[in-house]
C-alpha cells in the first residue's frame, strides 16, 4: 500500500521542522529543576512582560471571546495606519509575523521561482520557500551579515522574492539606511523585497531606515513588523506588514479570514499606545546588552556586535556549553541548525537574569 505521507512533494518532505527555544516546563521535568529558578533567554522575548496598557485591554476584551474576531481587524489597522502614516489598505495583519512571511511566500511563489536570502538569515525564510516548491538562493554572508552586493548579483530572472532581516536574527547584524536605499534602488521592480524588521524598535533613531518613505518610492517593498519583541506580546500572536495597497490586497486573498484573534487585536492596539513601556524596554535592552557584552569580552569570548535584543557569541564546544547551561537552569539558543555549531545566542533578559547567565558561563569556563 502506498503511504499517503509519501505523496508529499519532495520539497515538502525535505523541510526540517522549525526548532523553537526549549520550553521551561520541559527543561524543569528533564532536569528535575524548579520552574521558577529557570532563566529562559532563548526566544528573544521581552523580559519586562506585557505592556501595562495591553494588560488592561486584555482584561477588558475577555468578556467577548465567544464571538468571532473582527476579520478585518479594523481598530488595529486604523491604529497602525495612524502611527505609521500609511493608509489602512496598506496594512496587513498576521498571526504573528511568521504568518506574514508565510502568506507572502504563498501569495507570490510557485515551483520554478527562486528566492534570495542571506546565509545565517532568519530560519523561516528557507522554510517558507521550500514549502512552496520555490528554489532558495542562499547568498554567503559577509561578517555574519547581509552582503547586499552579492545578493543583488544573485537575483535571477526567476527570482520573485528577496528576504532581508534587519536587524538579522540570529546574528543581530544591521544594514545601514544608506546601503538599504541603494539596494532598493537597484533591485528589479518585479522582485518583491520583504524587509523583516522584527527588532527595529531596538535601534537608535539614526540607525533606522525611513521605511515609510521607502514605501512611497518602492512599490515592490513589503515591511514586516511584529508585536512579539519590543511590544512584549509574543504569546498573543500578532504581527503586521506595510506595503502598497495592491500587494496587501493580493495577500489578503490567501489570508485566513479570522487569522488574528480578538485578544491579540485588543492588546496590540493598546501596546502601540504604550510609549512608556516601549521606552523602558529599549532602555533595559541597552543596559542588558552592555552587561552581557562586557562579560563576554572579559571572558575572551568573541561575539557578533548586535543591534537587536540578543547577542550571538562563539565558543569552542557550543553543544557542551549548552548542556551545561541547561543543567544549571539557563536556556539559550544553540545555532547548529544555522550551521553555526560553535555559537550560542543569548536573549537579553532582566539584569538579574543576565547576571545568572554570566555566573553560569563563568563557572562553565572555569
Amino acid at each position: 500500500m502506498m503511504n499517503l505521507a509519501e505523496r508529499a512533494p519532495d520539497y515538502i518532505r525535505a523541510i526540517a521542522p522549525y526548532q523553537a527555544g526549549k520550553p521551561i516546563s520541559e527543561l524543569a521535568r528533564e532536569m528535575g529543576l524548579d520552574e521558577a529558578a529557570i532563566v529562559k533567554l532563548a526566544s528573544n522575548e521581552n523580559p519586562l512582560g506585557l505592556p501595562p496598557k495591553a494588560r488592561a485591554a486584555l482584561e477588558a476584551a475577555l468578556s467577548d471571546l465567544a464571538r468571532y474576531p473582527d476579520g478585518n481587524g479594523f481598530a488595529l489597522k486604523a491604529a497602525i495606519a495612524e502611527r505609521f502614516a500609511v493608509t489602512q489598505d496598506q496594512v496587513l495583519l498576521g498571526n504573528g509575523s511568521n504568518d506574514i512571511l508565510e502568506l507572502v511566500a504563498r501569495t507570490f511563489l510557485r515551483p520554478g521561482d527562486s528566492v534570495v536570502f542571506s546565509e545565517y538569515a532568519f530560519a523561516v525564510y528557507p522554510l517558507v520557500t521550500q514549502a512552496t516548491g520555490a528554489r532558495a538562493i542562499e547568498v554567503k554572508a559577509r561578517d555574519y551579515g547581509h552582503d547586499l552586493d552579492a545578493m543583488l548579483a544573485a537575483i535571477e530572472p526567476s527570482t520573485r522574492l528577496v528576504f532581508i532581516a534587519n536587524p538579522n536574527n540570529p546574528t543581530g547584524t544591521l544594514i545601514k539606511p544608506g546601503a538599504l536605499l541603494e539596494f532598493l534602488e537597484a533591485v528589479p521592480e518585479d522582485v518583491l523585497v520583504v524587509l523583516d524588521e522584527a527588532y527595529t524598535e531596538y535601534l537608535a533613531p539614526e540607525l533606522r531606515a525611513d521605511v515609510i518613505g521607502f514605501l512611497a518610492r518602492f512599490p515592490n517593498l513589503l515591511v514586516s513588523r511584529t508585536f512579539s519583541k519590543a511590544y512584549g506580546l509574543a504569546g498573543l500572536r500578532v504581527g503586521f506588514a506595510l506595503a502598497s495597497a495592491a500587494i496587501v490586497g493580493m495577500i489578503n486573498r490567501v489570508r485566513q479570514p479570522f487569522n488574528v484573534n480578538s485578544l491579540a487585536q485588543a492588546a496590540a492596539v493598546a501596546a502601540l499606545d504604550d510609549a512608556d513601556f516601549l521606552a523602558r524596554a529599549v532602555a533595559l535592552n541597552r543596559q542588558g546588552m552592555a552587561q552581557l557584552t562586557e562579560a563576554l569580552a572579559r571572558l575572551d569570548l568573541p561575539y557578533i556586535p548586535s543591534f537587536a535584543n540578543f547577542v550571538t557569541f562563539h565558543v569552542g564546544d557550543a553543544a557542551a556549553l549548552n548542556s551545561y547551561f541547561l543543567r544549571h537552569g539557563v536556556i539559550v539558543r544553540p545555532l547548529a541548525s544555522y550551521n553555526m555549531k560553535n555559537s550560542l545566542r543569548v536573549s537579553i533578559g532582566l539584569e538579574e537574569e543576565n547576571a545568572r547567565f554570566i555566573e553560569v558561563l563563568e563557572a562553565a569556563l572555569r
Binding site: 486584555l58 474576531p69 504568518d99
Partner: protein, 386 residues
C-alpha cells in the same frame, strides 16, 4: 501541488471574495454579550442586535477557562510552546491517541486548510456535500482542484454518501472527501456505521477530512466520532475539531486535528509556526476539564431547541432534527427576504446556502435569546412575513 493557481487564477479571486465576505460579516455584527447573558428578557436593538448567525455559544466561555487565562496573562509575553504542549497532551489523552497524532490550528479552519494544501491541487478532486460548510472548497478551488459537489438527499437533506462515493470511484486521481458531521447548515448527522464502512473500504487514493465542529453537541447513538478510526490506525483521514462552538472560544481561534502520526507530520509543514496563541491554548485546556460547563451548554442548547421547535410546530414551519447548536427550518418566504425582515427587528439569522431557498439556519443561543427570537417570528407571522 501547483501553487501557481493558488495565486494567479481567477478562481482564487472568487474564493477570496467568499472569504472576505465571511470576514466582514463578523465586523458588522457588534456584540451584545452583556444583554445575552442570564435568563432575563432579551430585547434586541440596533445597539445590541441578537446574533444567531455564526453558531457561536452565547453563554460565553467556561468560568474555569476564563480564570485560567487571567492567571496566565502575565506569561503572554512568552511564545506559546509550553501551553501548546500541555494542550496537545490533554487532547491526546482525551482521545486515546499519542501526542504525535494531534495538530493544533488557528481555528479548525486552519486544520482544514492544512489538509487541503497537503492533498489538493491540479489533477486531484475535492468531493463535498452541497450545501455544507464551504471552507474546504474555498481553499481547494484556487489550487486548481476539481470540485465535485454532491447534492444532499432530496427530502431528508441528509448527506448522500452513496453518490459521494460514486464520485470518488469515477475519478482516477486522488480524491479528498470532505464530510461535515453533524453537517452545517442542516444540523443533521450521518450515522457512524455508514462513514466507517466507507473509510474502512476506500482505496488508498481517497483521503477524508471529517469535520466534527459540532461533535460535542451530539447525543444520538447512531453518531460516533471518526476519531475511533484514527485510534484504530487508519491513515486515510483527519478529524477536525474546534473550540469555537461548545467551548465558546471563537474569538481566540483554536482548533485541532486528529490523524495518524505521518499525516500530522505532513500537515504540520503547512501550519504556520506558533499558530495557536497562549491564552487560546490555556483556555482550551481548562475548558476540556470543565465538564460542568459542557453539561450546562448542552442543557441550555436543549432548552433553546425546545423553545424554537415548539414555536415552529405551532407556526407549522418544518425543520430538520437538530444535532448541534443550530437548527435548519422552513420559512414562508425566500430565505433572503426572511433574513432581511429579521434584521429589521435587530436579529441576525443565518446566511445564504445553495439549493435551500425557503430554509434558514438559526443558531440556538440562550433560552432568553430564543424567546426574543420566537416573539419576532410570531410578529413576522402576523404580518404574513414568515
Amino acid at each position: 501541488m501547483d501553487r501557481r493557481t493558488l495565486l494567479k487564477s481567477s478562481g482564487l479571486f472568487m474564493g477570496a471574495l467568499g472569504l472576505s465576505t465571511l470576514a466582514s460579516r463578523a465586523a458588522i455584527a457588534a456584540p451584545a454579550q452583556a444583554a445575552t447573558q442570564g435568563s432575563a428578557v432579551f430585547i434586541p436593538s440596533a445597539k445590541t442586535p441578537l446574533l444567531l448567525n455564526f453558531n457561536e455559544n452565547s453563554l460565553g466561555m467556561s468560568p474555569k477557562a476564563q480564570a485560567a487565562i487571567i492567571n496566565e496573562l502575565p506569561a503572554a509575553f512568552r511564545y506559546p510552546d509550553d501551553a501548546r504542549a500541555a494542550l496537545i497532551s490533554t487532547l491526546a489523552k482525551g482521545n486515546g491517541l499519542s501526542d504525535k497524532q494531534i495538530t493544533l490550528g488557528n481555528g479548525s479552519s486552519e486544520v482544514i486548510q492544512m489538509a487541503i494544501h497537503a492533498y489538493c491541487g491540479k489533477g486531484t478532486q475535492l468531493v463535498c456535500p452541497d450545501p455544507t460548510f464551504n471552507y474546504a472548497e474555498l481553499y481547494a478551488e484556487p489550487m486548481g482542484t476539481t470540485i465535485t459537489k454532491v447534492k444532499l438527499q432530496k427530502d431528508t437533506l441528509a448527506i448522500d454518501l452513496k453518490a459521494m462515493r460514486a464520485a470518488t470511484e469515477k475519478f482516477a486521481g486522488v480524491s479528498v472527501v470532505y464530510l461535515c458531521n453533524p453537517n452545517n447548515p442542516t444540523a443533521t448527522i450521518t450515522p457512524a456505521a455508514d462513514i466507517e464502512a466507507w473509510i474502512n473500504s476506500a482505496p488508498e487514493r481517497v483521503f477524508f477530512i471529517v469535520d466534527e465542529a459540532y461533535h460535542e453537541y451530539v447525543t444520538d447513538p447512531r453518531y460516533a466520532s471518526a476519531a475511533r478510526l484514527v485510534q484504530a490506525g487508519k491513515k486515510n483521514l483527519i478529524v477536525a475539531r474546534t473550540f469555537s462552538k461548545i467551548y465558546a472560544l471563537a474569538g481566540l481561534r483554536i482548533g485541532y486535528g486528529l490523524a495518524a502520526p505521518e499525516i500530522i507530520a505532513r500537515l504540520d509543514t503547512w501550519a504556520s509556526i506558533d499558530n495557536t496563541n497562549l491564552p487560546a491554548a490555556i483556555a482550551a485546556n481548562a475548558s476540556l476539564q470543565d465538564t460542568a460547563f459542557i453539561r450546562q451548554s448542552l442543557s441550555t442548547t436543549a432548552q433553546s431547541r425546545k423553545i424554537v421547535t415548539q414555536a415552529l410546530d405551532e407556526l407549522k414551519l418544518a425543520y430538520l432534527p437538530s444535532h448541534a447548536n443550530f437548527i435548519f427550518h422552513r420559512v414562508n418566504s425566500s430565505s433572503a427576504a426572511y433574513r432581511e425582515n429579521m434584521k429589521k427587528l435587530h436579529i441576525m439569522v443565518g446566511r445564504p446556502f445553495d439549493h435551500t431557498d425557503g430554509w434558514n439556519r438559526l443558531t440556538l443561543g440562550t433560552p432568553a435569546e430564543m424567546q426574543a427570537f420566537v416573539k419576532a417570528l410570531k410578529t413576522l407571522r402576523q404580518q404574513n412575513l414568515a
